[in-house]
Assembly symmetry: C2
């Protein structure tokens, strides 16, 4: 490949390392290539004084209040899908986990595992999405780490984000605060994220393209907090395992029963159709921009009005009630008047959805 | 595989899911299998009241002081090696990053990517190591996350840890505090971790088994802090890229020159021999339990005495000085009186070392 062969029109000389279009193993070495990756791709997008200090760790002024910390690793396949990408999930998912605890998100960290050969244009798009999502939420990415593994030892890229926020007693939703008589609300249409990723992964084409609902729920929670305060008993984002799994966890944590109304479930037509074709139940399909709330029964209408006042909650509905019977079980009253138990699934309907 | 075949002595029926000996894709689904993995393997080892609350995030009492945050993802191959495993690195590496900032580590989070088929006994050993390492440092693991990817889409397991600590003005080592006249110290023998992993990965056998130096440097830093306070100008752990890379970063950040004495470098005989065989330079080989310190020149002896008073620092030595000439360059005075520049490497001597 050197000398005469390339002069004679054979394979061109390898491009200089600095102009390569893909991630090399050396980008994870801690040497000049690592420094270049950081300088050329990460810092311009995530840049803030804390990150730019490039110490072994970020130094942050303590804002006071209780601290709330959440960590999540994202392994979604494919990396890009209608409505979002792994970068959007990585920022939204962790910010949403903080918001569900009633916390104000303050800082994010980001840890990347890159597969050798990952195209830089794909990496750049994901980093752009992360930067936009973090900036929209007003939360800086203050520390990061990048590792590279050989081709075939990862699947494009995995991203861990850890979020730190602060919480006060004025707003402290928590699973065990759910009590009999509470209304169970969802903030929007369910099943979109899981079906969007599934369709993208399997190359399925439906009449209507289903887009992921990935979104930062922080502003929606702020509306609820402002109008209801601690009459909001519990908030959960209905990600892996969907609404059914979240409600089962909640029923167990609070030692209560739950009764859902099937006709009230906000399942968009295309999601219902796709689920029917594939034999899936939309109650178990992951969402990335939908929250489940339990609120004091007499505040249900106020809570729905608050949710619907924000674009992310315009399709909010009440889907059921917390009941004293059949504690630790979630039941569903079907459209034809029957009842069935909505159990936790043993394994996965849809793996690698986030 | 069912019925007559297994009764007749053919392959046995698959074991029930609950007694499987390996990680299944369903363990990452957020359903019953995920809950079981958490209940049976993670909580018993990492258990503490904060983690056991199992909310979307951990709630922590704010200790005051500035906050320091570090994140690191570990992708070492192989997962186990003489002297340690990926779990030891994941805890020590992040605690050490906090310690290098002069912070007192308070909490850790842990995010796992598991490859389908990972044997549970290997996972259990790694989790045991993490639990022991965190307990020894008195730092609880307060939040976690587990994802599972298909066989061939990861390499056994990857672990992200994020650490949060607190820092005060009484002890604030930082790269830019390094000044001309400082002594450059290392706390122990260099090159062990990288060579131990390299030997394990490639199946190399040397006369003496080289063991990793992976260790929590927090107690060693506490000794330095108690004796010297802010006469300690900068601390860095010499991980990826080794002592040479750390010193180059430091020379650039502080805009100073550095002169090292080759005969003073503490390279153990077996490491030197293995490096010679493989054509590697021990100055670039990763360490996981060695720190580099710059201290006020007139405090060099006191700093060495302090380091040597602790088992982790018993081989501490001065390896050079910070000089005004050739700013932003690291030079080495060789054993035969010559000088050479110790540059940063473009890529990796040894990939996937941590």
């Amino acid at each position: 490949m050197t000398g005469a062969a390339s002069l004679a029109g054979g394979p061109a000389c390898p491009a200089p390392l600095s102009s390569t279009t893909r991630v090399l193993l050396g980008h994870g070495s801690g040497g000049k290539l690592s420094a270049g990756l950081l300088r050329d791709r990460f810092l311009p997008r995530f840049g803030n004084p804390t990150l730019a200090a490039l110490g072994d760790a970020a130094v942050l002024e303590n804002p006071g209040g209780r601290l709330v910390v959440s960590t999540d690793t994202f392994v979604v396949a494919p990396l890009e899908f209608p409505g979002g990408d792994i970068g959007a999930l990585a920022v939204h998912g962790t910010l949403n986990d903080l918001a569900m605890m009633g916390a104000e998100p303050r800082w994010l960290t980001a840890g990347f595992v890159l597969e050798e050969g990952l195209p830089f244009d794909l990496l750049d798009r994901v980093l752009d999405t992360m930067a936009r999502a973090a900036a929209a939420a007003g939360v800086p990415i203050v520390a990061g780490d990048t590792k590279v593994v050989e081709r075939g030892k990862a699947d494009g890229m995995f991203i861990n984000t850890t979020g730190i926020g602060t919480q006060t007693d004025a707003f402290r939703p928590s699973p065990e605060r759910t009590v009999v008589g509470d209304a169970i609300l969802v903030s929007g249409a369910i099943g979109r994220h899981g079906m969007a990723v599934m369709a993208a992964r399997e190359g399925l084409r439906f009449e209507t393209t289903i887009t992921s609902d990935t979104a930062c729920l922080v502003p929606l929670v702020q509306v609820l907090q402002a109008r209801l305060g601690n009459a909001v008993h519990c908030l959960r984002d209905a990600t892996r395992g969907g609404v059914a799994t979240v409600l089962n966890e909640l029923a167990q944590a609070a030692d209560v029963g739950m009764m859902l109304d099937e006709p009230a479930l906000p399942v968009p037509g295309p999601v219902a159709a796709a689920c029917a074709v594939l034999g899936l139940d939309p109650l178990y399909v992951a969402n990335e921009g939908v929250l489940v709330a339990t609120v004091a029964g007499d505040q249900a209408d106020a809570a729905l009005a608050a949710l619907r006042s924000h674009d992310l909650g315009r399709d909010a509905v009440r889907i059921g009630s917390v009941i004293p019977e059949h504690r630790r079980l979630v039941q569903l009253r079907t459209a034809i008047g029957g009842r069935r138990i909505v159990d936790m699934l043993p394994g996965d309907q849809l793996p690698r959805i986030c």
